[in-house]
């Protein structure tokens, strides 16, 4: 299609119009990009979802021996409420103190297992070894097993904060 040149507009006016059009297009485009960017990244739930869950009673536990408990915790996943299963090790001193550790290896996230004979945790994936208190003894894990807040109720039930 041939371009038919119009009467040449005064350069000042033309320049102002070009500036106006470009500014508005940039404003609308930029505003839209900002809102859509915020929309894409800005949905993470701000409130902490951690809460106390029941993990059995001391009658399920042996003094000074880590016992694995599989807990089902409710997690809000956007609009979806999923029940996640998490394994925690409970260590009870036989009296009033209870400690809890995550069973997730700090190396690559496999689930560690308690070896009662050796009194050690072993990770089946890459040979990580942890002591009964969760400190790293051997292998690739960079950190001790993650501790989880736990408390003992007066009626001897165990609560952990997950």
């Amino acid at each position: 299609m041939a371009h038919i040149p119009g009467p040449p507009a005064p350069t000042g006016r033309r320049r102002a119009l070009v500036l106006f059009v470009n500014t508005v297009v940039a404003l609308i485009g930029g505003g839209l990009a900002a809102v859509l960017g915020a929309f894409t990244f800005g949905s993470r739930a701000s409130a902490s979802q951690v809460r106390w869950s029941r993990a059995g009673t001391t009658s399920d536990l042996k003094p000074d021996e880590p016992v694995a408990r599989v807990l089902s915790v409710s997690r809000a996943d956007g609009w979806y409420r999923a029940r996640a299963r998490e394994t925690v090790f409970l260590v009870w001193d036989g009296d009033k103190t209870i400690r809890a550790m995550s069973a997730t290896c700090t190396h690559l996230g496999c689930q560690v297992q308690w070896q009662p004979k050796e009194k050690k945790f072993r990770c089946p994936c890459h040979g990580g070894v942890y002591a009964a208190d969760g400190t790293v003894l051997a292998g690739p894990p960079p950190r001790p097993l993650q501790t989880i807040e736990a408390r003992l109720e007066s009626d001897s039930s165990v609560l952990v904060r997950l």
Binding site: M1, A2, H3, I4, P5, G6, P7, A9, R14, L17, V18, F20, V21, V24, V25, L27, I28, G31, L32, V35, L36, A38, F39, T40, G42, S43, R51, W52, S53, R54, S74, A76, G78, W79, Y80, R81, D155, S157, L159
Partner: protein, 523 residues
């Protein structure tokens, strides 16, 4: 920088494309009336973008569609993007009608532009298709029941009613298959067709050139950029500011989740279908097909044939009075029908924002019966307020009556609970899962549990309650507070033949006073 663009031009020739796009020659006198197409293009682009992004959070299944839309409403960018998309749909309808009327008034459909006109009409139909399919996606009461009406209207199609309805429905009832089908249409089939047709429409517009002012003016054609582009941009800017203001103002409506068993819901379509909605009321029974199919069909046929009805080269609207009067008459009819439909709001429908007395009463019981001991922000169970619930009504009812049975591991002994208290707590749990408690004055919180425990068995307020006794929604117009108090205390003392039991010994004086005053205030 310039060298980079020079290189890009040498390899792609992009400057030629920019030149073709921006330096479109326009007839002298092309002015503000010719900006409406650009407004539509801008609004459709916003719609396409916001719609594409909304799919990041939307789930097209009956179990999750509502929750996912409500989730979008929980963060501010979500509310704005959904607002832009929701209100944008209405803006498009307005811009579309304005564009259509401009084309008719200027006789722009006359030869050689008949194909441009027809492609525009198909675009109009497609956009109405977008409105219809998009309306279902939030899967709230409004969406569900409007779709019930749409599909029932489609059954009136002469000769093929059940077939058309079956295609629209997907399955045997409106449900999962309808939702996925309409979702697919809304996000894939319709947009793909729309884009192709817009390209065709613009190609035809460029092929024949802009029709320009009604009377040809002297002078040479001028380039689109920047004079006309600046006019387009100005109008687009104003419309965008208005749209953003709407989206900013608040999240678009989202009612309760779709409930096919709710017989009390009064479905109402989006405002631009209110005209059709109203028209149906004038054609009852077997004449319904006239309102649903024949009248809209004739209007569509008239528009499609317009270039052949309104022949001759004359474009001045003042010299095409017959055609223009027909169009103006049609437009006024649509406007009047829409206004009538708008005004014809059912008065009994409770405001969706206010909680029913039963729901408020259920909240009081939930606290009194120790539910909130575990169902708290830091408690052992999920808090009752402010989160979606994945439990169905049966589960909730069972859990309220016997918490231990359905959720083992409870340490609180289950409280004994009256059947109506349980129903109130269930109503509260359903409501609390979707709306925050707005807060009500102490007198309402005092009478709500009384209402939910005793009155609701026989009496109704705003559609909730039993039918053995009279509806008390407007009780204040019949009796004053003193009479009502005496009546509730001992009905036989007012009327020896009264059927209602006495409540004087079951309610405290404060409760009797409060409920009498509350009922007397209902006018």
């Amino acid at each position: 920088m310039k060298r980079l663009f020079d290189w890009l031009h040498a390899r792609t020739g992009y400057r030629g494309a920019v030149h073709v796009m921006l330096d479109e020659p326009l007839p002298p006198g092309t002015g503000w009336f010719f900006t409406l197409g650009s407004v539509l293009l801008a609004l459709l682009s916003i719609q396409l973008l916001t719609g594409a992004f909304l799919t990041l959070y939307y789930a097209a299944t009956p179990d999750h569609a509502y929750d996912s839309v409500r989730f979008i409403n929980t963060f501010s960018a979500g509310r704005i993007v959904r607002g832009l998309h929701h209100y944008g749909a209405s803006f498009i309808i307005i811009a579309l009608v304005a564009h259509l009327l401009r084309v008719i008034a200027f006789g722009s459909y006359k030869p050689p532009r008949e194909a441009t006109w027809l492609s525009g009409l198909v675009l109009l139909a497609l956009i109405l298709g977008f409105s219809l399919t998009g309306y279902l996606l939030p899967w709230d009461q409004r969406a569900y029941w409007a779709t019930v009406v749409t599909i029932n209207v489609s059954k009136l199609t002469p000769g093929a009613g059940e077939i058309v309805a079956g295609i629209l429905r997907g399955g045997s009832t409106i449900g999962a298959l309808t939702l996925t089908r309409w979702y697919g249409a809304h996000v894939i089939f319709l947009p793909a067709t729309l884009i192709l047709l817009i390209v065709a429409h613009l190609f035809l517009m460029r092929r024949h050139g802009i029709s320009g002012p009604v009377r040809q003016r002297e002078g040479a054609p001028f380039a689109f950029f920047p004079s006309q582009a600046a006019r387009d941009t100005t109008v687009v800017l104003i419309v965008t500011i208005l749209l953003v203001a709407y989206a900013w103002h608040g999240a678009p409506p989202l009612e309760g989740p779709a409930d096919p068993t709710d017989a009390t819901y009064v479905p109402r379509p989006e405002w631009y279908f209110l005209g059709l909605f109203q028209l149906l009321k004038y054609f009852p029974g077997k004449w319904e097909v006239v309102g649903a199919m024949v009248v809209p069909g004739l209007a569509a046929a008239f528009l499609a044939l317009l270039p052949w009805i309104d022949r001759g080269p004359e474009r001045n609207p003042l010299r095409r009075r017959t055609v223009l009067s027909a169009v103006v008459l049609g437009f006024i009819s649509v406007a009047v029908l829409t206004s009538l439909g708008w005004l014809d709001t059912p008065s009994s429908a409770a405001s969706p924002d206010s909680w029913s007395l039963r729901e408020i009463g259920g909240r009081v019981y939930a606290q009194k019966l120790n539910c909130t001991k575990c169902h708290a922000e830091t408690g052992l169970a999920d808090p009752l307020e402010g989160g979606p619930s994945t439990r169905g009504p049966e589960w909730i009812a069972g859990h309220i009556v016997d918490p231990e049975m359905i959720a083992p591991g409870m340490r609180e002994p289950p409280a004994t609970i009256h059947e109506r208290e349980a129903a109130a707590v269930a109503a509260y749990a359903r409501r609390a899962a979707r709306d925050a408690y707005p807060g009500y004055p102490p007198n309402i919180e005092l009478i709500a549990p009384v209402w939910a425990r005793y009155c609701v068995g026989c009496h109704k307020i705003e559609g909730d309650g039993g039918t053995d006794g009279p509806d008390l929604t407007h009780e204040g117009t019949k009796h004053d507070a003193a009479t009502l108090r005496r009546w509730i205390e001992d009905p036989e003392q007012v009327d020896p033949d009264a059927d209602m039991p006495a409540f004087g010994d079951r309610l405290s004086a404060a409760q009797l006073d409060a409920i009498a005053q509350y009922l007397a205030s209902r006018k």
